[in-house]
């Protein structure tokens, strides 16, 4: 059996692949948003003065770093609806179960990324903000967070790419994401090479686009006057070299 370019190209433009890719990315994006929100709360808990908050946040990280994501997905999709009737209703789709499951697992990892980013900000920044009379919340939002985001961006990009690939785990709860799409096709035609190669191309395109997005966002956090587009404002430097 030879590699049939025709079948490969045919699958590449097959709308069900495109839809599968869209589901994979959508699950990853929503899971990352959830993971960042929960992870930020857990990171605040771990860095807080309160013993209770420390303990709860520590438990969360410990628990969800230990449990395989696959098991969490199976629990959310199969076990929880048995316990809670509300999850037996129409709205609770494999898509929702997948992004919640991946999001709460990922939150344990994002919490560590966010925590180390927060801890890496120089204590003098906090002091300077407080000395200006800023409330603790203002210091966090206006001073610490913008700097912590820059530090957290590269590892978060890694996690995001990981999530796109982890979304294939959701095949066990019957989500028709990218890899499942390929697998379904293979089961009918047995053209393994062509169908998997099409999946490879899709993953490569997705991750390439994400890398471009990451580079773009990181450039936004360079903090030099030269990377900014010229605007006629007094906030821009006036015609002098940086180290003149």
């Amino acid at each position: 059996m030879e590699f049939d370019i025709g079948i490969f190209v045919q699958q590449l433009v097959n709308p069900s692949y495109l839809y599968g890719a869209f589901l994979s990315v959508a699950v990853a994006v929503l899971a990352l948003v959830l993971a960042t929100a929960v992870g930020f709360a857990v990171a605040l808990g771990r860095t807080s003065q309160s013993r209770i908050a420390q303990g709860a946040a520590g438990f969360y990280t410990w628990f969800f770093r230990a449990i395989p994501a696959l098991l969490v997905l199976l629990i959310i999709w199969n076990a929880l609806p048995q316990l809670f009737p509300v999850l037996r209703q129409e709205w609770f789709s494999p898509f929702i179960a997948a992004f919640i499951g991946l999001g709460i697992v990922e939150a344990a990892f994002m919490a560590e990324i966010i925590r180390s980013a927060l801890l890496s900000i120089d204590e003098g920044q906090n002091l300077a903000g407080r000395a200006l009379g800023m409330s603790p919340a203002k210091v966090m939002v206006k001073v610490v967070l913008p700097q912590a985001i820059r530090i957290a961006l590269p590892p978060t990009g890694n996690e995001f790419i990981g999530l796109v690939k982890f979304s294939s785990l959701a095949s066990v709860i019957s989500l028709q994401e990218l890899l499942t799409t390929a697998q379904v096709g293979v089961n009918i035609t047995f053209r393994y090479a062509e169908y998997y190669a099409a999946a490879i191309i899709y993953y490569l395109i997705i991750v390439s686009l994400l890398t471009l997005l990451q580079n773009y966002v990181e450039k936004k956090f360079l903090w030099t006057s030269r990377s900014k587009p010229k605007k006629p404002s007094t906030l821009e430097p006036i015609g002098q070299g940086v180290h003149a």
Partner: protein, 268 residues
Amino acid sequence: MSHEPQPTEAKVWTPADPVLQVRNLHKSYQDQHVLRGVEFDIHQGQVKAVLGPSGSGKSTMLRLMALLEPANDGEILLRGQRLGVRQRGTTTVPLPERELAKERRDIGMVFQKFNLFPHLSACRNVMLGLTSVQNIPAKEAEERAMAMLERVGLSHRAGHYPSELSGGQQQRVAIARALVMNPSVLLFDEPTSALDPELVGEVLDVMEGLANDGMTMIVVTHEVRFARRVADQVTLFDSGVIVEQASPDEFFDNPQHQRTRKFLSHVH
């Protein structure tokens, strides 16, 4: 006209009284007693230079006065009002952080390592206190920030980020950032210690300009010549207590204490 009976305050502050008073200030870290009963006054428009060896408690005193850390004992009074605590029944308790933040608005602080916000341009560093603490609209805040940068000679660097500025320029931006809040007192924690020697002068010039404009300043420094030329009063700190407190001429030409003479023999 009838005279309404005023609720009797403990004592009424008048501009003739010291603007900032420190009474019996104590501070310990674990087993280290860093401040052991510091007392002093500073009047409106005065410049006080604080000298002393490293680890003598000078910087700790500034942090306490800036309300960045609580004192273990003693009082800090701004215009006769006690800072950092409130009365609950018969005991005084430390203010919560949100309330402390409000009291800090009236006291400016300039740090040894500048502590500029690296993600903001020079202008936005100066604007941040105005927009986020005083809730001044961005347009007006920008105008006031630019005026303040002009005052420290850096309006042409307004759009530059801290990483693009020299140490001396960064410290001048930091001074503008504190100054724009219009504080009653400006505290300087070794403002030139982290600078290359050739950059010290530009910062001291800005500070001397502020002193001439009548700013009330407490300057912890190792710059003895600056202390002599600019300060109204020079203080020597050692082991958490004030050893000597005098006018510059008295302090440098006729010190009363052996410890001061010894210190001066090392720095002259």
